[in-house]
Symmetry: C2
């Protein structure tokens, strides 16, 4: 933990102006909430679920956000009984296998909610038979939320915290330095290391970390070994030596050339890196389009190799397989024969094949009943490259907090432990995996309590039958702004969120959607929902804000902020 | 067949002006197609599938539309081999059970593509466990098309013909007389009767037919027995004696009161009717909101009673269960306890329960392996009553030919005959059931050949493994206008189709969608698709038009036309 100590002091500082700006923004939201106070005399059926939030009074190893304690107060007794059953079930398994369960996290890229056959997909000219089978023989989440972008979802997954708390709130782009996953943060790999796990990471890291920025690399954040790419296709296509005419799937690099042309951008963006914990990272090979084509399969190869090496050891393992960026170019020639004939279809076919290989490996090794496999997408699709990017029938896209940007497919698979054909529609957030996996590994007490960790323990949802999600709320940030709050079936879209071009109920642009009525967010409703929900959401946001005052965000990282974030200015006249 | 003879002569007459108008409209479409001729020098990958259509040269009992013969020419030999396998498989089954297989058709109402868990649904505050299980243990169609409205889908289902050919092209409303399913048409019940089936119909008929219009009733169109409602909730809610304050689910009849108030509309709309073949229909009870609440369960009760009575007989049976109108009011109090708390959620829950009861009945009787059960929706949702109507994540709604209006969920279930977990994405049209069921019953030769029947025999798709749909095209009419043509993955939207308010590529408003790229129809594409597809679609439409010249439509039925159809005027200056 020496690396973490280096930046802990730095990380605790917050620019006063920055903090004030955020609080001002939250205040504005709360004021608008008051404007939407209930005017009618009756309550909607779901109103009983909107309880008043309160600051925590119960001692807990993990510091949660305020709304959690509202739920704990209601359901704490029931949760304790469930937790007992979960512990018994895990103890029986540990007795059988002689060690704690392995954990595999597979993160897919830009895969929209409706892309898998198991999610009503299979209509876009490619099939996902392995993921569909995984969903059918496991748990398919129906209200699973990521962050709206690659980097932020990865931060949330590693730390169990909303990225805005970590100081990173957008996508890190090629050439960014001095920004990334700092050692102040405690990662899932660090927590599992304390539980005795062997840990590894392969694939698209995208949380900073080059040869110049070693604080941020995987092996300085809890992973025993790693081989990773710094980020997206851009790194691979814009690196020095990549010819603009190189064909990659159905597009060439020339499609992405920035004036005044490719020769003006001889960037040295490095290459795929490799390191072991405590060692120096080295470049395995430079980024190139040719290598990018089959990168998902290479990442799967590395993952499978690690699984085979680790399966027979005394220690359980954790491996994080972050699949290839699925945005535009990068089609493996072996998988291009799809009916759709798009790069995305080739990539989805390849990734599905690789997920199947990972699950087959577990079966071949006879460890599938002692291995939890989690699969999810990092965010919704990006339409800038349509039709070569992903797709979602939900509204909106990556970088937005409409459902299409953040509600994504997610599957948990664990034969013998997770029942088949489960399709919970309770809210689950990407941060929940942090706390859930720590709980399953028996090290929830290693989660720091000097900061808010947003993850909620969902191990009872996974392992017991007819149990509900412990989260019926969520906060949807985009960059450093809070854009939406979910509570039960209602989504409140704040005045600061970008509005639809063709819709304005009033000048403040705040509206409510009932996601049971209207998962496509087409029918904002003030009369039936909004007037009633106003006070409840106001309270939820106020208590969330109080918790930020008590546990302030980490400093917004300047390398990122200067180059890519939205302006963050508390003065609305500017 | 005496009843049919009465109207056969009448039905063959076509108003010259009516015919000319249609042909003029088709010509306009073809001309615009010419304007979109290919200008670039290369072919898209899917272009090989766009074959030139030709008029039929092969003798066939059923007169098909032109594009069918294009497919037959390509795949005829393969189809013949498949048909041999299908016949063998059916012969083995008949040997086992001693009679032909039973057929049950369950038609749900206004259920959007994404409403079932098996279609990625289950996120709207209700569950469909029985339909999901039916889909998982059978075949779930991914590109299944209905007509855009209740009446027209029912016409297509009964006759295997596009409703425009039949002379009915929109919804029949309360009070319409002199319009309906004429006896000139040959229904699926008539064809199956000739194969020795016992036939019955229960539920929402909606193809004309009151005590005054007996030509159109089920028992004069092939059904041995029937108990039916003339139509939609409107009949039930607007009938004499229904109080405007009667509460029905979450709404009252007062929600639907037309100025100058309910007392000005003491309409006598009749009631639920019952008849046996050759007998006079009688009213079982008058329409009322109270009875409407639980009508789907009553229809299921009647269906189950018929199944039990027919199961042990020597004859196979066919029963058509047309579920309750799912549009707005009419929630059964027993099923109102849903998380969503909408009328639609209650109705879906009730209908799913009833589908489960029907399947359970088959299992209890031990006849599930000799019974083909087909379930589908009649069209997409209607948003006028949101949130109490249905929903679809696809674009558009009932009464539109956007995918949301016509692409609907459909399931075929037949244990031992249809393999589980099948999810074909080939195009299947509601008319296909007519020809497919006739084929399975061994009476394809009873389909008349003096008219075009649009249904395509899909029995090989159902009964053999790894077989594709025999339809890779479709025509999407709305009322009497052709709005869209589908071929392979491309949908061509004609200039006469209503355009999006915010989109206009050119003054003619014709555009192409690749439904593999873009099932949500958000990204019309002229450059990558349209310029190339133009000539191919022009040819398909021209040949379709030639076939209409050869086999003209039945006369548009005046009762309907005057009151509810769009104006149909060949003079564009009017």
């Amino acid at each position: 933990m020496t690396i973490r100590a280096n930046s802990a002091a730095k990380g605790k500082k917050i620019m006063a102006a920055q903090k004030k700006a955020l609080l001002d923004q939250m205040n504005m939201a709360a004021t608008v909430g008051v404007g939407a106070l209930g005017l009618l005399g009756k309550a909607a059926p779901w109103m009983g679920l909107l309880m008043m939030a309160a600051l925590p009074t119960v001692a807990s190893a993990q510091q949660q956000d305020a709304e959690y304690y509202v739920q704990e107060k209601r359901f704490g007794e029931q949760w304790a009984a469930e937790d007992k059953q979960v512990r018994d079930k895990l103890a029986a398994l540990e007795k059988k296998f002689g060690k704690k369960p392995n954990v595999i996290y597979i993160l897919a890229d830009d895969t929209g909610y409706t892309e898998l056959g198991a999610y009503g997909g299979g209509i876009r000219g490619f099939k996902t038979p392995n993921l569909d089978q995984m969903a059918r023989t496991g748990m398919r989440f129906q209200s699973y939320y990521s962050q709206p972008a690659c980097t932020t979802t990865r931060i949330a997954l590693q730390t169990g915290r909303f990225p805005v708390r970590v100081g990173i709130s957008g996508i890190l782009m090629p050439g960014t330095h001095g920004a990334g996953l700092t050692n102040y943060e405690v990662t899932i790999a660090e927590v599992l290391s304390e539980a005795g796990y062997t840990t590894a990471m392969y694939g698209k890291w995208h949380m900073g970390g080059s040869l110049d920025d070693q604080e941020y690399i995987p092996t300085n954040n809890g992973y025993d070994e790693a081989e990773w790419s710094e980020g997206n296709p851009l790194w691979w296509g814009y690196n020095k030596g990549v010819k603009p005419t190189d064909r990659d799937g159905y597009m060439t690099r020339a499609h992405f050339t920035w004036p005044p042309g490719p020769d003006a951008q001889p960037w040295d963006l490095g290459g795929v890196m490799r390191a072991i914990k405590g060692g120096k990272p080295e470049i395995v090979y430079p980024y190139s389009i040719e290598k990018y084509n089959s990168y998902d399969t290479e990442v799967a190869d590395n993952t499978i190799d690690f699984i085979k090496r680790s399966a027979r050891g005394d220690k359980p393992f954790f491996v994080y397989y972050a699949g290839k960026g699925n945005h535009f170019f990068g089609a493996n020639p072996k998988f291009m024969n799809t009916p759709a004939g798009t790069n995305n279809a080739a990539q989805m076919t390849e990734h599905d094949y690789n997920v199947g290989r990972v699950l087959d490996t577990l079966k071949e090794l006879g460890i599938e009943e002692n291995t939890l496999v989690i699969w999810s997408s990092d965010n919704g699709p990006m339409y800038a490259m349509h039709p070569h990017g992903g797709y979602s029938l939900l509204k909106g896209e990556k970088s937005e907090t409409w459902e299409g940007g953040i509600r994504v497919p997610a599957i948990a698979w664990w034969p013998g432990m997770i029942e088949a054909f489960q399709e919970p529609d309770g809210i689950v957030d990407v941060t929940d995996w942090f706390t859930t996996v720590a709980s399953i590994a028996g090290v929830k007490d290693k989660i720091p309590n000097d900061r808010v960790t947003d993850g909620v323990d969902q191990s009872s949802l996974l392992l017991l039958e007819k149990v509900k999600s412990r989260r019926d709320w969520n906060f949807h940030y985009n960059h450093s702004g809070l854009e939406a709050v979910r509570k039960d079936q209602i989504k409140f879209r704040l005045p600061s969120a970008p509005s639809e071009p063709t819709f304005s109920l009033d000048s403040a642009h705040h509206y409510f959607y009932n996601l049971y009525y209207d998962p496509g967010e087409r029918f904002p409703n003030m009369v039936e929902i909004g007037l009633w929900a106003g006070p409840a959401f106001q309270k939820i946001i106020q208590d969330h804000k109080k918790m930020i005052e008590k546990f302030p965000h980490q400093k917004a990282q300047p390398g990122y902020k200067v180059e890519f974030d939205y302006p963050f200015d508390p003065d609305p006249t500017k």
